[in-house]
């Protein structure tokens, strides 16, 4: 990827984010009721309301209103949550790290598990294991994260209760943290009992999010590997005495990983969306769980803040994927 490509991508990203902001703005303006009433605490006086009305320029036309609203958004001023009576940015700052840790754990699990299974499947091609693997993977592909989460609740929470069913950490351990990235902090500061507890809480939501991703990685990567394995350079390497596992890992994998990576990026963004429901099921205190509470409470400032945060992450991930894909494939740089 060249510098101009990157600039182009960044420009498109800003444009898309602007589109998302416009849609959020419009949607929240269709909602019946006075937007001001949604943004203030119920204890506000009529004078407060008038001041806010002037501040948001609600007497102005829609484009000006959007301008003011958008400038506030750029400054990170999303207003005050109605249901929690706290600054929206502050609430997001508390919850986002939990969601990010979960999403990245699920991503790592999905890619590793999928990668290992695809590699084993490639090594086992032309054996009976191969079609069996494809069949099982087909079933896995049909099961969405929501159903996985519920099945896991049942299997690992009730019938064979090895992992805690809800929450992020044992409440007794959570008071020691300085940041909201509990997992990273506990690892860096050597609080291994807290780390173990965090992992135990994370296993089930991580599996629920990661298993569908793993299934997709298996299918895409296996197809790409099969294609790469019949190339002449693999044949030559085999003649030179390279072991089957090295043939797959060293010769085929790097050429096969491109489409998988792009797809993983797309799936990762879906997975971030999936955290909403999975966090709910496991009462995991992340951004998604809070989003559903916000919707149930019709807490519009909070909803708006969360949606824009998710949108920004979504777009950021897409840019990162493009960058990594360009870096992994040396040909892309030349033709690109």
């Amino acid at each position: 990827m060249t510098a101009s490509d990157l600039l182009n991508r960044l420009f498109m990203a800003v444009l898309t984010l602007l589109g998302v902001a416009v849609i959020v703005f419009c949607l929240l303006r269709i909602v019946p009721g006075d937007p001001i009433a949604m943004m203030i605490s119920p204890s506000a006086t009529p004078a407060d309301i008038a001041a806010l009305r002037a501040h948001y320029g609600l007497d102005l036309g829609l484009p000006q209103q959007f301008g003011i609203w958008f400038m506030d958004v750029l400054k990170g001023n999303f207003g005050t949550s109605i249901s929690q009576r706290r600054d929206v940015m502050e609430l997001i700052g508390e919850r986002l790290p939990a969601t990010l840790e979960l999403a990245f754990a699920a991503l790592v699990f999905g890619v590793l598990a999928g990668g290992v299974i695809a590699t084993l499947g490639t090594l086992a091609r032309r054996t009976a294991l191969d079609p069996a693997l494809d069949f099982i993977n087909g079933l896995f592909l049909a099961v969405p994260d929501f159903v996985w989460a519920l099945a896991l609740v049942l299997l690992l929470g009730v019938f064979w209760p090895v992992f805690p069913l809800s929450g992020r950490i044992d409440p007794e351990l959570s008071t020691y943290f300085h940041t909201n990235f509990y997992l990273i902090e506990s690892l860096l500061t050597g609080k291994f009992s807290a780390f173990g507890d965090l992992i135990a809480h994370m296993v089930m939501p991580m599996l629920a999010l990661g298993l569908p991703l793993a299934a997709i990685v298996v299918r895409t990567l296996k197809e790409a590997l099969a294609e790469a394995m019949v190339q002449d350079y693999v044949l030559l390497a085999r003649l030179k005495g390279m072991s089957p596992i090295r043939l797959v890992l060293q010769e085929a994998l790097r050429n096969a990983v491109g489409p998988t990576l792009t797809l993983t990026g797309v799936q990762f963004t879906f997975m971030i969306g999936g955290t909403v429901i999975v966090e709910r099921i496991f009462s995991y205190p992340g951004l998604g769980n809070m989003a559903i509470d916000a919707v149930i409470n019709r807490d519009l400032p909070l909803i708006q803040g969360i949606v824009l945060t998710f949108g920004a992450i979504f777009i950021l991930v897409n840019i990162l994927v493009d960058l990594i894909a360009g870096w992994l494939n040396p040909r892309g740089a030349a033709h690109g």
Binding site: L139, V143, F146, L154, G157, V276, L300, G311
Partner: protein, 300 residues
């Protein structure tokens, strides 16, 4: 998911000659037969639920709360799958739950398909401005995480069955639009379209009578897949309490209820989950089977 863009390389088989010629290969595809059979059975259950269900799904009997299924000791006769905490019959509620699930599946998938197909045909066949505007719209749509968009939409539209269906349609029309657009463009390049043009058929005549029948196979498979997605989305929204009021039995609502009291009785949780899983799997396998069976290239 991979893009389901398939192209008939030569001599397409129009769907007009549908009856036996098209149905036969469908019946040879086991996934279509098994999943289709299951879904027909489910449809019959949904239609005749009042006659099949052993109890009234709403009837509470607090004396009979949390009864286990018949296989467990201490079961109450007549309550085959046990009762929930309010003493309502789980079997009857699961059977009635199929009504909401299938209603949402059929209505939401059909509406998404109609809107998406019209947009896709317009973009793919007429091109130019129509294509540019529609494609840009699809791009912006794709920048939203779907689950989040549905939650946002339900927040705006309010909860309820209509909002759920509207949210699914508003989000998922793009799936149809993208595939139909690509397929239409591929078909438009084929010789039979040129032949129709030289005969002097009008553009719209060619679109409806020549192109659409050839896009239809892909579309049918996609509708089936979309029905599975709609069932899941409805279940998710019921689960978080944004779909229907809790006295109407839905699988998602039952699962949420069962999740709360999972340590008291697993059966309230498990049976609607099995129903949900089987239904989603059936729509998914039917869709994949149809795609394979109807695709002239893969069939050859």
């Amino acid at each position: 998911m991979a893009e389901i863009v398939t192209t008939t390389a030569d001599a397409p088989v129009p769907l007009r000659s549908l009856p036996m010629k098209t149905i036969k290969p469908l019946l040879r595809e086991p996934r279509v037969v098994i999943a289709g059979g299951f879904l027909i059975l489910l449809l019959l259950i949904a239609i005749f639920a009042p006659y099949i269900a052993p109890k009234d799904p709403l009837e509470q009997d607090l004396m009979l709360g949390n009864m286990p299924p018949v296989t467990s000791p201490g079961a109450e006769p007549g309550y085959y799958l046990g009762t929930d905490d309010l003493g309502r019959d789980v079997l009857s509620r699961v059977l009635y739950g199929s009504r909401i699930a299938l209603t949402v599946a059929f209505v939401a998938a059909s509406l998404s398909a109609i809107i998406g197909t019209l947009m896709g045909l317009a973009a793919g066949w007429y091109g130019g401005w129509a294509d540019r505007i529609i494609s840009r719209l699809v791009d912006i749509w794709m920048a939203f995480p779907p689950v989040l968009l549905s939650v946002l939409l339900v927040a705006v539209l309010g909860s309820g069955l209509h909002s759920v269906i509207a949210a699914i349609v508003i989000i998922d029309w793009t799936r149809f639009c993208r595939v139909v657009r690509a397929e239409t463009m591929a078909q438009a390049r084929l010789d039979y379209v040129m032949a129709a043009e030289t005969i002097g058929f009008s553009r719209s005549h060619i679109l409806w009578r020549e192109i659409l029948p050839n896009v239809a196979p892909v579309l049918i498979a996609l509708v089936s897949l979309e029905m599975g997605i709609a069932v899941i989305v409805e279940a998710i929204l019921s689960f978080v309490g944004l779909s229907l009021s809790s006295d109407i039995p839905t699988w998602g609502g039952m699962i949420a209820q069962g999740r709360q009291m999972i340590h008291q009785g697993w059966w309230v949780f498990v049976f609607p989950l099995i129903a949900l899983f089987a239904t989603v799997l059936a729509f998914n396998q039917l869709g994949n089977g149809l795609r394979k069976a109807l695709d002239p290239v893969m069939r050859r």
